[in-house]
């Protein structure tokens, strides 16, 4: 199952050139671009790991692409996303975020039914990937 989230989630995966153009847009707006990665694809997982520090004071997307390629070399089997942080007064939050890398094989989610008091049922979504320990979730099976 193809996990989608953030901006452009309705589009096919962006090519490197498209990513670079989006990053350039962010830099043009004065936002700091940040690279994050994770291997826990749950939609409510909003604590992704940071690849280095957010990149302030950049002028050209080539610098960000250099870091992205470094990150892909190490964590190419995980989800990687870019987020752009707007530090201007009143915003001070992430303005744009999109996925730039995903594992080759995404096993998807199962629905767990939990029977509680009475005949009530609570539902949980759980990724098949997280059955394995962190770091080896998307390796060879």
């Amino acid at each position: 199952m193809r996990v989608t989230q953030g901006c452009f989630s309705f589009l096919p995966d962006l090519t490197d050139e498209q990513v670079s153009r989006q990053v350039q847009y962010c830099l043009g707006k004065g936002w700091a671009v940040n690279i994050e990665f994770t291997d826990d694809p749950h939609p409510r997982n909003n604590l992704w790991e940071m690849w280095g520090l957010p990149m302030f004071d950049l002028r050209d997307a080539a610098g960000v692409m250099m870091e992205l390629n470094e990150c892909r070399k190490v964590y190419g089997d995980r989800y990687i996303r870019m987020s752009a942080f707007d530090s201007s007064h009143g915003w001070e939050s992430v303005r744009l975020s999109f996925i730039v890398n995903r594992p080759k094989d995404e096993p998807g989610f199962r629905l767990e039914r939990h029977e509680t008091s009475g005949r009530n049922i609570r539902y949980t979504t759980k990724s098949y990937a997280v059955d394995r320990p962190e770091g080896v979730r998307y390796g060879d099976r």
């Binding site: 950049l58 002028r59 050209d60 997307a61 080539a62 610098g63 250099m66 870091e67």
Partner: protein, 311 residues
Amino acid sequence: MNSSASPSAAPQDADPTPPLERIDLRREFNDVGIGEVLDQLDRELIGLKPVKTRIREIASLLLIERIRKRMNLTSEVPTLHMSFTGNPGTGKTTVALRIASILHKLGFVRRGQVISVTRDELVGQYIGHTAPKTKEILKKAMGGVLFIDEAYYLHRPDNERDYGQEAIEILLQVMESQREDLVVILAGYGDRMDKFFASNPGFRSRIAHHIDFPDYSDDELLAIAELMLRDMNYRFSPGARQAFIRYIGLRKAQPLFSNARSIRNALDRMRLRQANRLVADLDRVLSTDDIMSLEASDVLASRVFSGSPGG
């Protein structure tokens, strides 16, 4: 497509997609706007004849390269990394800024900013500190020019475990693999740069343009002083001008003379003395002329004339 366009008119239309067959060089030159930058260079930088000639050559090469690209004749991006050697105060940083502007106008760098750094900004204090630091600077310089002043400090021959070597390796790698994203300019004093290149042959071979900045002659230094004063809305009185010519002769003979920078510092001190002289006589009514002119006494009060070092 408009249906009323006649088919015979189509080939004459300027269509940017197919490779160009012929090109109007003058129009191309004017469109790019490097003419202004080169003229500005001639106007605002005094002397430096060999440097200006070299920059003109590089600019012509790049202009032709740009046309070749549009004619589909080029194979790869030309190497644009440069080294500027010369004594202190000969205008290396100023020229680097102009070069960035020329490269930007010709489209060889995308943004045209100049990031000026020295060893401190590239080399870290402890193991594992250097690589992120160097990369941080490289990322900031992407799309523009990275100007490394006193580049020979990167290499410390007396300490083989110095972290400078790590910074050099990262720089060399990026200079080679991301030639279209970044132009690196190394600057420093001539003899020490020669030693630096001798011990780092990788740098020498990756740098296409070695430009040597000559020292200024006395006349040029005077012209520089007058240009600086004009920018600051000051001027020499005739007596002060004569005194300043003597000042240049004396100052040059002293140690630690750094060309235009020494001139600038001398002018700053003269402004200080002028202000002091004017304030000393509070009952006087000043004219614009009084405020603007530096008198001989302002120049002659310098320690240079008393024979002691410094000033």
